[in-house]
Symmetry: C2
Subunit: 177 residues, 2 copies
DNA sequence: TTCTGATCGTCAAAGGTTTGACTATCTCGC
DNA sequence: GCGAGATAGTCAAACCTTTGACGATCAGAA
Protein backbone atom coordinates (compact mmCIF):
# COMPACT_ATOMS: atom_id res chain seq x y z
CA UNK A 1 0.00 0.00 0.00
CA UNK A 2 1.09 3.52 -0.78
CA UNK A 3 0.63 4.70 2.77
CA UNK A 4 0.47 8.39 1.84
CA UNK A 5 -3.03 9.37 0.79
CA UNK A 6 -3.33 11.49 3.92
CA UNK A 7 -2.91 14.78 2.06
CA UNK A 8 -5.92 14.13 -0.12
CA UNK A 9 -8.36 13.37 2.65
CA UNK A 10 -11.42 15.47 3.22
CA UNK A 11 -13.33 15.78 6.42
CA UNK A 12 -15.56 12.88 5.39
CA UNK A 13 -13.06 10.27 4.33
CA UNK A 14 -10.89 11.23 7.28
CA UNK A 15 -13.15 9.28 9.62
CA UNK A 16 -12.48 5.96 7.92
CA UNK A 17 -8.78 6.68 7.59
CA UNK A 18 -8.49 7.79 11.21
CA UNK A 19 -10.17 4.70 12.58
CA UNK A 20 -7.81 2.39 10.75
CA UNK A 21 -4.78 4.35 11.81
CA UNK A 22 -5.82 4.63 15.45
CA UNK A 23 -6.48 0.92 15.68
CA UNK A 24 -2.96 0.29 14.40
CA UNK A 25 -1.38 2.71 16.86
CA UNK A 26 -3.56 1.91 19.85
CA UNK A 27 -4.89 -1.65 19.56
CA UNK A 28 -7.20 -1.11 22.53
CA UNK A 29 -9.16 1.49 20.62
CA UNK A 30 -12.85 0.74 20.24
CA UNK A 31 -13.48 1.56 16.56
CA UNK A 32 -17.26 1.65 16.82
CA UNK A 33 -17.23 4.08 19.74
CA UNK A 34 -14.66 6.14 17.86
CA UNK A 35 -16.81 6.31 14.75
CA UNK A 36 -19.83 7.24 16.81
CA UNK A 37 -18.02 10.07 18.56
CA UNK A 38 -16.47 11.45 15.40
CA UNK A 39 -19.64 11.27 13.34
CA UNK A 40 -21.87 12.76 16.00
CA UNK A 41 -19.52 15.63 16.71
CA UNK A 42 -18.99 16.38 13.05
CA UNK A 43 -22.70 16.36 12.27
CA UNK A 44 -23.57 18.63 15.18
CA UNK A 45 -20.89 21.07 14.11
CA UNK A 46 -22.29 21.18 10.60
CA UNK A 47 -25.81 21.75 11.96
CA UNK A 48 -24.84 24.66 14.19
CA UNK A 49 -22.71 26.19 11.46
CA UNK A 50 -25.65 25.96 9.05
CA UNK A 51 -28.11 27.47 11.53
CA UNK A 52 -25.85 30.26 12.59
CA UNK A 53 -24.59 31.27 9.16
CA UNK A 54 -27.85 31.02 7.23
CA UNK A 55 -30.43 31.98 9.84
CA UNK A 56 -29.12 33.84 12.87
CA UNK A 57 -26.12 35.93 11.82
CA UNK A 58 -28.04 37.44 8.90
CA UNK A 59 -30.66 38.54 11.46
CA UNK A 60 -28.07 40.09 13.74
CA UNK A 61 -28.24 37.35 16.37
CA UNK A 62 -25.36 35.30 17.68
CA UNK A 63 -25.94 31.61 18.25
CA UNK A 64 -25.81 32.21 22.01
CA UNK A 65 -28.16 35.16 21.79
CA UNK A 66 -30.68 33.10 19.87
CA UNK A 67 -30.55 30.34 22.46
CA UNK A 68 -31.42 32.79 25.22
CA UNK A 69 -34.30 34.25 23.22
CA UNK A 70 -35.44 30.73 22.40
CA UNK A 71 -35.79 29.58 25.99
CA UNK A 72 -37.45 32.83 27.02
CA UNK A 73 -39.89 32.45 24.17
CA UNK A 74 -40.91 28.92 25.08
CA UNK A 75 -40.52 28.82 28.85
CA UNK A 76 -42.02 32.21 29.54
CA UNK A 77 -40.39 34.85 31.71
CA UNK A 78 -37.52 33.23 33.55
CA UNK A 79 -35.05 34.11 36.24
CA UNK A 80 -31.54 34.36 34.86
CA UNK A 81 -30.30 31.14 36.45
CA UNK A 82 -33.20 29.16 34.95
CA UNK A 83 -32.54 30.60 31.53
CA UNK A 84 -28.91 29.53 31.86
CA UNK A 85 -29.84 25.98 32.83
CA UNK A 86 -32.33 25.58 29.99
CA UNK A 87 -30.04 27.13 27.41
CA UNK A 88 -27.12 24.97 28.57
CA UNK A 89 -24.70 27.78 29.37
CA UNK A 90 -23.19 29.44 32.41
CA UNK A 91 -24.91 32.19 34.39
CA UNK A 92 -22.10 34.51 33.36
CA UNK A 93 -22.75 33.83 29.69
CA UNK A 94 -26.43 34.67 30.08
CA UNK A 95 -25.51 37.84 31.92
CA UNK A 96 -23.24 38.93 29.08
CA UNK A 97 -25.66 38.01 26.31
CA UNK A 98 -28.62 39.69 27.99
CA UNK A 99 -26.64 42.91 28.14
CA UNK A 100 -26.68 43.00 24.35
CA UNK A 101 -30.22 41.71 24.00
CA UNK A 102 -31.49 44.37 26.40
CA UNK A 103 -29.61 47.10 24.56
CA UNK A 104 -31.24 45.94 21.33
CA UNK A 105 -34.67 46.07 22.94
CA UNK A 106 -35.35 42.35 22.69
CA UNK A 107 -35.36 41.48 26.40
CA UNK A 108 -36.31 43.24 29.62
CA UNK A 109 -34.75 42.71 33.04
CA UNK A 110 -36.88 43.29 36.15
CA UNK A 111 -36.21 42.65 39.81
CA UNK A 112 -37.96 39.73 41.44
CA UNK A 113 -39.92 40.97 44.51
CA UNK A 114 -39.55 37.71 46.47
CA UNK A 115 -35.78 37.49 45.98
CA UNK A 116 -33.84 40.66 45.57
CA UNK A 117 -30.83 38.80 44.24
CA UNK A 118 -32.75 37.45 41.26
CA UNK A 119 -33.57 39.07 37.93
CA UNK A 120 -36.53 38.11 35.79
CA UNK A 121 -35.91 38.04 32.06
CA UNK A 122 -38.77 38.52 29.60
CA UNK A 123 -39.13 39.04 25.88
CA UNK A 124 -40.30 42.40 24.62
CA UNK A 125 -42.78 42.59 21.78
CA UNK A 126 -39.85 43.17 19.45
CA UNK A 127 -38.02 40.22 20.95
CA UNK A 128 -41.03 37.99 20.47
CA UNK A 129 -41.27 38.97 16.83
CA UNK A 130 -37.53 38.45 16.34
CA UNK A 131 -37.45 34.99 17.87
CA UNK A 132 -40.54 33.70 16.07
CA UNK A 133 -39.21 34.95 12.77
CA UNK A 134 -35.80 33.42 13.45
CA UNK A 135 -37.16 30.12 14.65
CA UNK A 136 -39.44 29.79 11.67
CA UNK A 137 -36.39 29.95 9.42
CA UNK A 138 -34.43 27.78 11.84
CA UNK A 139 -37.08 25.08 11.78
CA UNK A 140 -37.16 25.22 8.00
CA UNK A 141 -33.47 24.34 8.02
CA UNK A 142 -34.13 21.56 10.54
CA UNK A 143 -36.74 20.17 8.18
CA UNK A 144 -34.30 20.31 5.27
CA UNK A 145 -31.86 18.18 7.24
CA UNK A 146 -34.47 15.78 8.59
CA UNK A 147 -35.99 15.26 5.16
CA UNK A 148 -32.99 13.17 4.17
CA UNK A 149 -34.37 10.45 6.42
CA UNK A 150 -37.62 8.55 6.14
CA UNK A 151 -40.18 9.17 8.89
CA UNK A 152 -39.37 5.87 10.55
CA UNK A 153 -35.65 6.56 10.33
CA UNK A 154 -36.27 9.89 12.00
CA UNK A 155 -38.14 8.17 14.81
CA UNK A 156 -35.42 5.60 15.30
CA UNK A 157 -32.68 8.22 15.30
CA UNK A 158 -34.47 10.39 17.86
CA UNK A 159 -35.02 7.36 20.06
CA UNK A 160 -31.35 6.39 20.00
CA UNK A 161 -30.17 9.94 20.65
CA UNK A 162 -32.53 10.22 23.60
CA UNK A 163 -31.31 6.91 24.92
CA UNK A 164 -27.76 8.25 24.91
CA UNK A 165 -28.92 11.51 26.43
CA UNK A 166 -30.46 9.71 29.41
CA UNK A 167 -27.63 7.20 29.77
CA UNK A 168 -25.41 6.80 32.83
CA UNK A 169 -22.54 8.42 30.93
CA UNK A 170 -24.69 11.48 30.34
CA UNK A 171 -25.66 11.60 34.00
CA UNK A 172 -21.99 11.46 34.97
CA UNK A 173 -21.26 14.41 32.71
CA UNK A 174 -23.09 16.95 34.81
CA UNK A 175 -22.90 19.75 32.35
CA UNK A 176 -22.30 23.11 34.03
CA UNK A 177 -23.52 21.62 37.30
CA UNK B 1 -53.90 22.92 32.83
CA UNK B 2 -51.79 24.94 35.15
CA UNK B 3 -49.76 26.50 32.38
CA UNK B 4 -46.83 27.48 34.63
CA UNK B 5 -44.46 24.57 35.17
CA UNK B 6 -41.82 26.38 33.15
CA UNK B 7 -39.75 27.33 36.20
CA UNK B 8 -39.26 23.72 37.20
CA UNK B 9 -38.02 22.46 33.87
CA UNK B 10 -34.59 20.99 33.48
CA UNK B 11 -32.62 20.75 30.29
CA UNK B 12 -34.15 17.36 29.56
CA UNK B 13 -37.84 17.97 30.08
CA UNK B 14 -37.49 21.30 28.31
CA UNK B 15 -37.43 19.55 24.95
CA UNK B 16 -40.93 18.14 25.35
CA UNK B 17 -42.27 21.36 26.77
CA UNK B 18 -40.67 23.45 24.04
CA UNK B 19 -42.07 21.37 21.22
CA UNK B 20 -45.62 21.68 22.52
CA UNK B 21 -45.27 25.39 23.05
CA UNK B 22 -43.69 26.05 19.65
CA UNK B 23 -46.40 24.11 17.86
CA UNK B 24 -48.99 26.29 19.58
CA UNK B 25 -47.22 29.51 18.67
CA UNK B 26 -46.10 28.55 15.18
CA UNK B 27 -48.44 25.92 13.78
CA UNK B 28 -46.18 25.37 10.79
CA UNK B 29 -43.44 24.03 13.05
CA UNK B 30 -42.29 20.52 12.23
CA UNK B 31 -42.14 18.91 15.68
CA UNK B 32 -40.09 15.89 14.60
CA UNK B 33 -37.41 18.01 12.94
CA UNK B 34 -37.42 20.24 16.01
CA UNK B 35 -36.91 17.31 18.35
CA UNK B 36 -34.15 15.97 16.16
CA UNK B 37 -32.32 19.28 16.13
CA UNK B 38 -32.66 19.90 19.84
CA UNK B 39 -31.68 16.38 20.88
CA UNK B 40 -28.72 16.15 18.56
CA UNK B 41 -27.35 19.52 19.57
CA UNK B 42 -27.84 18.83 23.25
CA UNK B 43 -26.16 15.43 23.10
CA UNK B 44 -23.17 16.73 21.16
CA UNK B 45 -22.74 19.52 23.68
CA UNK B 46 -22.75 17.03 26.54
CA UNK B 47 -20.20 14.85 24.74
CA UNK B 48 -17.76 17.67 24.10
CA UNK B 49 -18.17 19.00 27.61
CA UNK B 50 -17.45 15.54 29.00
CA UNK B 51 -14.39 15.03 26.80
CA UNK B 52 -12.96 18.43 27.45
CA UNK B 53 -13.54 18.56 31.19
CA UNK B 54 -12.55 15.00 32.07
CA UNK B 55 -9.85 14.23 29.52
CA UNK B 56 -8.27 17.24 27.85
CA UNK B 57 -8.29 20.16 30.27
CA UNK B 58 -6.71 18.03 33.03
CA UNK B 59 -3.89 17.30 30.57
CA UNK B 60 -3.39 20.94 29.73
CA UNK B 61 -4.99 20.73 26.28
CA UNK B 62 -7.85 22.81 24.97
CA UNK B 63 -10.48 21.08 22.89
CA UNK B 64 -9.19 22.88 19.81
CA UNK B 65 -5.60 22.02 20.62
CA UNK B 66 -6.48 18.36 20.95
CA UNK B 67 -8.26 18.36 17.61
CA UNK B 68 -5.14 19.67 15.89
CA UNK B 69 -2.92 17.08 17.57
CA UNK B 70 -5.46 14.41 16.70
CA UNK B 71 -5.41 15.05 12.95
CA UNK B 72 -1.63 15.36 12.94
CA UNK B 73 -1.38 12.07 14.78
CA UNK B 74 -3.59 10.16 12.35
CA UNK B 75 -2.98 11.91 9.04
CA UNK B 76 0.75 12.27 9.39
CA UNK B 77 2.63 15.52 8.88
CA UNK B 78 0.26 17.97 7.24
CA UNK B 79 0.35 21.40 5.75
CA UNK B 80 -1.52 23.87 7.84
CA UNK B 81 -4.46 24.23 5.49
CA UNK B 82 -4.99 20.46 5.40
CA UNK B 83 -4.92 20.27 9.15
CA UNK B 84 -7.56 22.99 9.26
CA UNK B 85 -9.83 21.20 6.83
CA UNK B 86 -9.56 17.86 8.63
CA UNK B 87 -10.03 19.41 12.05
CA UNK B 88 -13.01 21.41 10.85
CA UNK B 89 -11.72 24.84 11.77
CA UNK B 90 -10.37 27.93 10.00
CA UNK B 91 -6.76 28.35 8.94
CA UNK B 92 -6.52 31.23 11.37
CA UNK B 93 -7.63 29.01 14.25
CA UNK B 94 -4.98 26.44 13.41
CA UNK B 95 -2.37 29.18 13.21
CA UNK B 96 -3.29 30.41 16.69
CA UNK B 97 -3.47 26.97 18.25
CA UNK B 98 -0.18 25.83 16.74
CA UNK B 99 1.51 28.82 18.29
CA UNK B 100 0.72 27.36 21.71
CA UNK B 101 1.38 23.75 20.70
CA UNK B 102 4.78 24.70 19.30
CA UNK B 103 5.67 26.64 22.44
CA UNK B 104 4.77 23.59 24.51
CA UNK B 105 7.00 21.41 22.34
CA UNK B 106 4.21 19.24 20.97
CA UNK B 107 4.35 20.31 17.32
CA UNK B 108 7.04 21.48 14.91
CA UNK B 109 6.62 23.87 11.99
CA UNK B 110 8.89 23.52 8.99
CA UNK B 111 8.87 25.19 5.61
CA UNK B 112 7.73 23.18 2.63
CA UNK B 113 10.45 23.22 -0.06
CA UNK B 114 8.03 22.96 -2.98
CA UNK B 115 5.82 25.83 -1.80
CA UNK B 116 7.39 28.56 0.22
CA UNK B 117 4.00 29.83 1.34
CA UNK B 118 3.17 26.57 3.05
CA UNK B 119 4.13 25.26 6.47
CA UNK B 120 4.33 21.60 7.35
CA UNK B 121 3.09 20.66 10.82
CA UNK B 122 4.35 17.53 12.53
CA UNK B 123 4.12 16.00 15.99
CA UNK B 124 7.20 15.89 18.15
CA UNK B 125 7.95 12.83 20.20
CA UNK B 126 6.41 14.59 23.17
CA UNK B 127 3.38 15.50 21.09
CA UNK B 128 2.95 11.93 19.97
CA UNK B 129 3.03 10.72 23.54
CA UNK B 130 0.61 13.42 24.63
CA UNK B 131 -1.96 12.71 21.94
CA UNK B 132 -1.88 8.94 22.34
CA UNK B 133 -2.28 9.27 26.08
CA UNK B 134 -5.12 11.73 25.65
CA UNK B 135 -6.90 9.76 22.98
CA UNK B 136 -6.70 6.58 24.99
CA UNK B 137 -8.65 8.31 27.75
CA UNK B 138 -10.87 10.01 25.19
CA UNK B 139 -11.80 6.72 23.60
CA UNK B 140 -12.52 5.25 27.01
CA UNK B 141 -15.10 7.98 27.50
CA UNK B 142 -16.50 7.30 24.03
CA UNK B 143 -16.88 3.67 24.97
CA UNK B 144 -18.67 4.62 28.17
CA UNK B 145 -21.21 6.58 26.17
CA UNK B 146 -21.59 3.97 23.44
CA UNK B 147 -22.05 1.16 25.94
CA UNK B 148 -25.53 2.45 26.68
CA UNK B 149 -26.56 1.10 23.31
CA UNK B 150 -26.56 -2.47 22.08
CA UNK B 151 -24.14 -3.29 19.26
CA UNK B 152 -26.91 -3.28 16.69
CA UNK B 153 -28.25 0.01 18.01
CA UNK B 154 -24.77 1.47 17.67
CA UNK B 155 -24.63 0.31 14.07
CA UNK B 156 -28.03 1.76 13.26
CA UNK B 157 -27.21 5.07 14.91
CA UNK B 158 -23.93 5.44 13.06
CA UNK B 159 -25.66 4.63 9.79
CA UNK B 160 -28.33 7.26 10.32
CA UNK B 161 -25.81 9.91 11.38
CA UNK B 162 -23.71 9.19 8.31
CA UNK B 163 -26.77 9.40 6.13
CA UNK B 164 -27.45 12.89 7.47
CA UNK B 165 -23.80 13.82 7.11
CA UNK B 166 -23.84 12.98 3.42
CA UNK B 167 -27.29 14.48 2.78
CA UNK B 168 -28.01 17.35 0.42
CA UNK B 169 -28.55 19.64 3.40
CA UNK B 170 -25.05 18.85 4.61
CA UNK B 171 -23.61 19.49 1.17
CA UNK B 172 -25.35 22.87 1.09
CA UNK B 173 -23.78 23.77 4.42
CA UNK B 174 -20.26 24.05 3.08
CA UNK B 175 -18.60 24.37 6.42
CA UNK B 176 -15.64 26.75 6.31
CA UNK B 177 -15.51 26.29 2.56
C1' DT C 1 -32.10 37.27 66.73
C1' DT C 2 -27.87 36.20 64.83
C1' DC C 3 -24.56 33.70 62.54
C1' DT C 4 -23.04 30.50 59.09
C1' DG C 5 -23.28 28.72 54.69
C1' DA C 6 -25.39 28.74 50.28
C1' DT C 7 -27.09 31.16 46.24
C1' DC C 8 -27.80 35.09 42.77
C1' DG C 9 -26.09 38.04 39.23
C1' DT C 10 -22.04 40.46 37.68
C1' DC C 11 -17.29 41.43 36.65
C1' DA C 12 -12.53 40.64 35.18
C1' DA C 13 -9.32 37.65 33.11
C1' DA C 14 -8.07 34.22 29.98
C1' DG C 15 -8.67 31.71 26.04
C1' DG C 16 -10.87 30.19 21.69
C1' DT C 17 -13.05 31.12 17.12
C1' DT C 18 -14.39 33.62 13.03
C1' DT C 19 -14.03 37.15 9.52
C1' DG C 20 -11.50 40.18 6.81
C1' DA C 21 -7.24 42.26 5.47
C1' DC C 22 -2.52 41.80 4.24
C1' DT C 23 1.94 40.09 2.40
C1' DA C 24 4.31 36.60 0.08
C1' DT C 25 4.06 33.23 -3.15
C1' DC C 26 2.36 30.29 -6.79
C1' DT C 27 -0.11 29.15 -11.34
C1' DC C 28 -1.67 29.58 -15.69
C1' DG C 29 -2.65 31.88 -20.05
C1' DC C 30 -0.71 34.99 -23.19
C1' DG D 1 9.01 35.59 -19.66
C1' DC D 2 5.17 38.09 -17.48
C1' DG D 3 1.17 39.68 -15.50
C1' DA D 4 -3.52 38.70 -13.44
C1' DG D 5 -5.77 36.06 -10.34
C1' DA D 6 -5.72 32.55 -6.82
C1' DT D 7 -3.80 30.69 -2.63
C1' DA D 8 -0.97 30.10 2.08
C1' DG D 9 -0.31 31.62 6.51
C1' DT D 10 -0.62 35.39 9.79
C1' DC D 11 -2.46 39.29 12.20
C1' DA D 12 -5.93 42.35 14.21
C1' DA D 13 -10.54 43.06 15.64
C1' DA D 14 -14.68 41.49 17.41
C1' DC D 15 -17.30 38.39 19.87
C1' DC D 16 -18.46 34.47 22.82
C1' DT D 17 -17.70 31.43 26.71
C1' DT D 18 -15.75 29.64 30.87
C1' DT D 19 -13.70 30.01 35.46
C1' DG D 20 -13.03 32.26 39.66
C1' DA D 21 -13.93 36.07 42.62
C1' DC D 22 -16.95 39.39 44.61
C1' DG D 23 -20.85 41.88 47.08
C1' DA D 24 -25.59 41.34 48.03
C1' DT D 25 -29.05 38.54 49.62
C1' DC D 26 -31.44 34.53 51.44
C1' DA D 27 -32.33 30.31 54.55
C1' DG D 28 -31.92 27.64 58.45
C1' DA D 29 -29.91 26.34 62.99
C1' DA D 30 -28.64 27.64 67.45
Amino acid sequence: MTDRPAEDLDYLSFVDYAIGKAKAELPDTDPVAMRLGLTLHRLAGALVYDWESTVHRPRGLSWGGFRVLFVLWLAGPLESRHAARLAGMSRAAVSALVKTLERDGLVTRTQVPEDRRAVRLALTETGHTAVTDAYQAHNTREQAWASSLTPSEQTVLIGLLEKLTTSPAAAAAQRLA
